[in-house]
Amino acid sequence: MALTRNVYQILEDIVGPENISEEPVILDSYAFLWLAETVTDSKFFTRPEAVVMPGSTEEVQAIVRACNRYGVKYKALSTGWGPWNAPGDEGVVQVDLRKMNRILEIDEKNMYAVVEPYVIFSQLQVEAMKRGLTCHIIGAGANTSPLASCTSMSGMGLSGISMSYNARNPLAVEWILPTGDILRLGSLGCGAGWFCGDGPGLSLRGIMRGTHGAMGGLGIFTKCAVKLYPWPGPRQMHFEGVSPGHVAAIPQNFRCYVLSFPSWDSFADAAYKIGEAEIGYVMGKQIAAGIVPLMAARSPTEYAQIRESGMADEIMQEFRYALQLILGAHSLREIEYQERALQEILAETGGWIPSPTQDPERQKTTFRMMIKVDGNSAIFRLSGSFGTSFGAETSCDAAMVHARLGEEIKKKYIEKGVIADDGAEWAWGAEMNEHGRFAHIEELFMYDPADPESAKGAAEFIEETSLLTAKQAPGLAIWELARGGLGPKAHDIYGPACSNYHVWQRRIKKAFDPNFSADATFYIEPEE
């Protein structure tokens, strides 16, 4: 269903001929996405009918209005990583926000930045660091968009312990509603500035997003004030070495640890205590036991040799209940205090610092990866891709329930040979957001996207775990994972189990998008 010439021409008039395309070679680069093979049996989702690239709020608004007027659906993306960026069906115009890539303002005193959709975390972080600030970077990596994270996606990341979760990090937002009207959330609406995203009165931020965002299903966000957080490190981090081994010295007021524990229980105890002591700057369970042997290998081949020889068994066990922790302090007195507190916590919980991680060079690498969040796509390295499944934003104790459940289910799929044998453990997260107020957990696994059997196994794994959380009550699932696993029926499976929220969400969709113009695929279809 190609666009009519009339509609194409209207869109072209809005953005200019160089910023619109319906060339198949261009369209396919938007249809191709990570995890597509677990849904479509190929690397490609449905092609958009055209890609338009607006350069301003006004152009976005004009596109949305034109789509409403001519009955065309649209779907916006910023960096475009993940299946939720794809058009759900035929007849969708993809709105690529790449040209809207400016950091409009950094308010150093009041600790926020105003960004456009295509600013990435790395850019924002370096500019913020020049002012003694930084931003909460999501676990996916610093190559993603803070605006998208704050307005439209989820927002978990290891700096959550001191920098929250991105659903809680937007202040005022400029939002092109599904109909094309511009809503300016919070203090921006009356022209007071960007410092608050809630009010007057009830907070329309509640419509904008929940734990997870509308993923393009409720309009397009063009500007967002993002909270920044204190960065007590150097204004510019200097990384020595040549790719892929960049390292930076750990400043005097920082420490970088890997902590291991004898069990999930003691792991959780320590996580709670660290949260309560308010000593973590970045913390989480990122390095799975199955990944640890890679530290001693130069290639997947060597990794496999080490694993198959059995030499890795002991170290994998040592890292099974391990978390990474960066302490960061504003003074040397504070770092001393934090270290004392940590030592006490380790003594109380039976935790220890595994010897391989005490190597200062390794610590530097871990420090870089946790501050810059630049290494997480290594997760694709061993098998070519990874998937992630169920999990929740919930208390740490409930997260541990997830971790245990994840192990059990994963074993089956490892035995079938359809996912990589990672020792049946990869509970990722445990971030203890906001000094321990709620945790994040998800179960990662590795599969090969070039192997149809593996892709099929991955799809089954995601589906089984998604159904599990709907049936049992270990915490509300992560939406994009549940949607990925269960497909369009996900809301109708979860809704009845969760206060019938889906009924309300459908009403919201209908009220705010009466022409059903914004692609609802990863939000909610207006009809059951």
Binding site: W34, T79, V242, S243, H246, A420, D421, A450
Partner: protein
């Protein structure tokens, strides 16, 4: 390897877009945070390395066919390889190889650019892609007291390359290089008009046969001449000798050095002594082919296997070129050896340096894009506060000169050789 051999790499791209940025830890500002000129110029994802992998997969799977836009996406790229370095920080994929194979396939299928055809025609007729007569090739060295290797033996062959041989504005650099070598007492010769193209540019444009032809010819000539060392001032040629020549399978009985490596060695051995002050603050541009693309070829023939369920391994293990071992320090060390000269670094350097814009057949096919790319680099150089931009490659130099002239910019431009000459 052929394009089809990389199908798994294409499928394993996650569309993470890391190929658009420097290694993330090395981003130092918003302003200079891009690493892929093609992507910034073209904007649609298809212009990125990841996008080209997708285009290749789509083509292989018969989802799309060649079109003018397809060719633009394939060819509007300098093949500078920064994308490849960024990808390989965390992945074991070969995006640049896929891009090279994709161009080769385009050529095989007759999907050619007129501007490139002109270059190839010239190459076939006159052994250079610059539309110049072969007979004029040695003119750059006229009056230089240097051995002609076709007539007499020398330890070291100085290989000028096509750009230095035919771009009269740059002759002084090649002449200066020879002068420096002679000053250091090096037994150096040149091939004069008998010199032939390295074949690298043709290879990058997808013309595989031309590389094989020139590689075989040059290796044989130099082996026969008994030279111990081949030195070139051209980074493109250097990268070609180091990476592409070994692929043709002929033994090379000589060492290949870039002029900056050799000069660095001579200075450190005390054979060249920069003593005169050159009071200048400079910034150094790493040419792609001297930096990340000069990493030596690492032969690998093997198969992919699965172990531990779905872990993909190469059997035997494959070593990946990640930009780690490019020539980064020698040019810097030469600059640092010059009294009074201060080197300040740009934000994007070494393996994640921004390209000058001239490579991959872009300067010839898309001159506006080439100049825009250069101007972007000049802005970055200016942002350091340096008075001069220094490089070590004639293609970079030509393109920077053109960009500076077009905009009437005041920034000075030097080759390392010029500065060292001044210091002696």
């Amino acid at each position: 390897m052929a394009l089809l051999d990389y199908r798994n790499d294409m499928q394993r791209c996650s569309r993470c877009s890391l190929c658009k940025w420097p290694p993330l830890a090395q981003i130092k500002s918003w302003r200079f945070s891009n690493v892929c000129p093609s992507m910034v110029w073209g904007n649609f994802h298809a212009y990125s390395a990841g996008g080209k992998l997708i285009a290749a997969l789509s083509l292989l799977d018969g989802r799309i066919d060649y079109s003018d836009k397809f060719l633009e996406i394939v060819y509007q790229c300098q093949m500078g390889g920064a994308c490849d370095v960024s990808c390989k920080v965390t992945r074991d994929l070969e995006p640049l190889e896929v891009m090279l194979e994709l161009r080769a396939k385009c050529v095989e299928d007759g999907q050619l650019l007129p501007a490139h055809m002109v270059m190839i025609e010239s190459l076939r007729n006159d052994d250079n892609p610059m539309g110049k007569l072969k007979a004029e090739r040695g003119k750059w060295a006229e009056g230089l007291d240097v051995k002609d290797i076709t007539r007499e033996k020398a330890d070291v062959l100085y290989f000028a390359g096509c750009r230095y041989s035919f771009d009269q504005d740059l002759w002084g650099i090649a002449r200066g290089a020879v002068t420096l070598l002679k000053k250091a007492g090096v037994d150096v010769g040149i091939s004069g008009k008998e010199e032939a193209c390295c074949g690298g540019r043709a290879y990058e444009m997808g013309y595989r046969g031309e590389l094989t032809k020139y590689a075989e010819h040059n290796i044989e000539t130099w082996n026969t001449a008994g030279v111990r060392t081949v030195v070139t001032s051209c980074s493109d040629c250097y990268g070609t000798f180091k990476y592409h020549y070994p692929k043709v399978g002929k033994t090379m009985n000589f060492e290949v050095l870039h002029i900056t490596e050799y000069l660095d060695r001579l200075i450190k051995e005390g054979k060249l002594k920069p003593t005169r002050k050159v009071p200048l603050q400079v910034t150094y541009h790493d040419p792609c082919h001297l930096g990340r693309l000069s990493e030596a070829y690492i032969p690998w023939e093997g198969v992919e296997r699965k172990v531990l369920g779905q872990i993909v391994i190469q059997d035997p293990p494959k070593e990946f070129r990640r930009g780690t071992n490019g020539i980064y320090e020698p040019p810097r060390d030469v600059l640092k050896s010059i009294p009074g000269l201060e080197l300040v670094e740009m934000e994007r350097i070494k393996e994640y340096a921004w390209c000058c814009g001239a490579g991959g057949g872009v300067k010839e096919a898309y001159p506006d894009f080439a100049l825009w790319t250069a101007k972007e680099r000049i802005e970055e150089a200016e942002a350091t506060g340096a008075e001069a931009l220094v490089t070590a490659c004639p293609w970079c130099e030509r393109n920077f000169r053109d960009a500076l002239e077009q905009d009437g910019e005041k920034m000075k431009l030097y080759n390392i050789v010029e500065l060292l000459l001044e210091a002696l």
